[in-house]
Symmetry: C2
Subunit: 323 residues, 2 copies
């Protein structure tokens, strides 16, 4: 999500301790995937190694702050959050029949749906095993809440598919379930492992997760494909109605009357994208995401200066990938 | 697995308390599926309602015994085990593209693979949420171990698919992962909720789970389809090599040389089943399963008489469905 440059800046700003903690997280992820048989090592290992920016574990560590000595519990929480994220990616790729993720073949493409489904289930199970080893019920509660939300968000997206009239509130709820909840859990788990429960930090996580999803949905319409790595309008072809269309349909009656099921080609989807863009909906949707980021930053609790600055950097990273 | 008659006998033998606890389990399962949105209520509700004999929750309650007052923790454990079982069935049905389970359309058939995958993930997450509410890390550990085993067993089955020469040890390990581990967790959780950890009870669960899987694999070859509800040789068509073939290949060189990938029709699969049966492998495989049941019973720890008798009835139920 955030660019690699931003995250490098975060790690620099947060001081050397963060870098060494992130290394422990990586080590543990490697151990886990290596320790469960050749198939998991092969498939999950690849998925996890390809694994993006590790933003969720980073949030766990940043939410924990630097005052307390880093514990095994903290590392386990960071690892568990990333495992749930990876499990959901592996399952999503089965559902989307996706051939490639982050430049590598998906588990689905390399090994088929049976192996991919089981690999996702195993990553999922290992996430809870990781937390069970810490012995903290509050941690399990936070993670199971987020993983339930993820699945519920997916179900909601299916239930609302092809409905061009879906309400803004339902859309926002879906984004919080699909994306906000795991970011929230990351911040919650970090706080739990050190200073104790912190609802304000949890809300920060939820908001930047929401902003991330809003911007992701803008990028699906705005492209360019050369930057996002996928064709414009992919969501529309799946029947997924997002903020740009929700805003644009109020301004262009033809869009409100669009039957998404009739979209058959990438070209047709692109022409709907152009039509959405012509209403000015993209910049309004982006504004809304920026407002959520601002709200996230404004709502941060009183924190040590360096911790606050790094969390704000992460929040800005959500925006930066757009601009 | 066990026949309804056996389970009725178990409930009768165990006394009235068991019946009322099983009702609390049913109630909680209904509440859970009703409490997570319409889609889950619709799909998971149907799966869980169609849900078979509730053998795993029954084992949780029987392993707990009657000496301690039943706690919420016990009910939550019984519910969690059934949720993991249901989640795995929902995912299996996606992988097998199964139209019907227990006489009702599967979630996959009724709502497609996206909804079915997400429904399985949600049931999975709710299982851990259920245990997190008890606040007992040992319970989470037991369940995450079992759910990891389930997925690892599935991966192992894929890795060994089409290999007619798969070793007996690998086959037995796969059965323990796929089926034994959740039965084991059921007994382990029941003991944890009352008297405390009991490895002998856990081993009982693992053994009857193993015996269950062995007999299931015999039934796939022996049929009749009118009784099992599926065509003979379904496993063979999937490339899944099980005990009857592992025994028979030593006696019939043509079987050892069979290329399962060449099996294209149900008739061809049936003719391999006949050939396996002709070696006498089915009764030997059944013998082995009966020996595991006997071992399970012999290994039971010292228990109150009624508790021991009901656990033995359950063990016998595994056999009874065969005879």
């Amino acid at each position: 999500m955030a660019t690699a440059a931003t995250l490098d800046a975060v790690v620099r700003a947060a001081g050397p301790q963060l870098g060494s903690l992130m290394e422990r997280v990586e080590q543990r992820l490697t151990e886990l995937t290596a320790g469960h048989g050749q198939l998991l090592a092969e498939h999950a290992g690849t998925t996890i190694a390809a694994g993006g920016k590790r933003l969720r574990p980073l949030l766990v560590l940043l939410a924990a702050g630097e005052s307390a000595a880093p514990t095994d519990r903290l590392i386990r929480s960071a690892v568990a959050v990333e495992l749930i994220h990876s499990a959901s990616l592996v399952h999503d790729d089965v559902l989307d029949r996706a051939p490639v993720r982050r430049g590598r073949p998906t588990v689905f493409a390399a090994a088929g749906r049976t192996v991919a489904t089981a690999t996702g289930d195993l990553l999922f199970s290992r996430a809870f095993a990781e937390l069970a080893a810490s012995g903290e019920a509050a941690d399990v509660r936070a993670l199971s809440g987020a993983s339930s939300a993820l699945a519920a968000g997916e179900l909601m997206q299916r239930a609302d598919a092809w409905d061009v009239g879906v309400s803004l509130d339902r859309y926002l709820e879906r984004c919080e379930l699909k994306t906000g909840a795991l970011f929230e859990a990351a911040c919650r788990l970090g706080a739990l492992a050190t200073a104790g429960p912190d609802e304000a930090l949890a809300a920060f996580g939820r908001r930047i997760g929401l902003a991330f999803q809003l911007l992701d949905d803008v990028l699906d319409v705005s492209g360019p494909a050369s930057r996002t790595g996928k064709a414009r309008g992919t969501d529309l072809l799946d029947g997924t109605v997002t903020l740009p269309l929700i805003i644009a349909r109020e301004r262009d009656p033809a869009l409100a009357a669009t039957d998404l099921r009739a979209l058959a080609t990438a070209e047709q989807a692109e022409s709907i994208c152009d039509r959405i863009a012509a209403t000015g909906a993209l910049s309004d949707a982006k504004e809304r995401a920026l407002a959520v980021v601002a709200e996230a930053k404004a709502g941060l609790p009183a924190l040590p200066l360096r911790q606050q600055a790094t969390l704000e950097l992460v929040a800005d990273g959500v925006v930066e990938r757009y601009s």
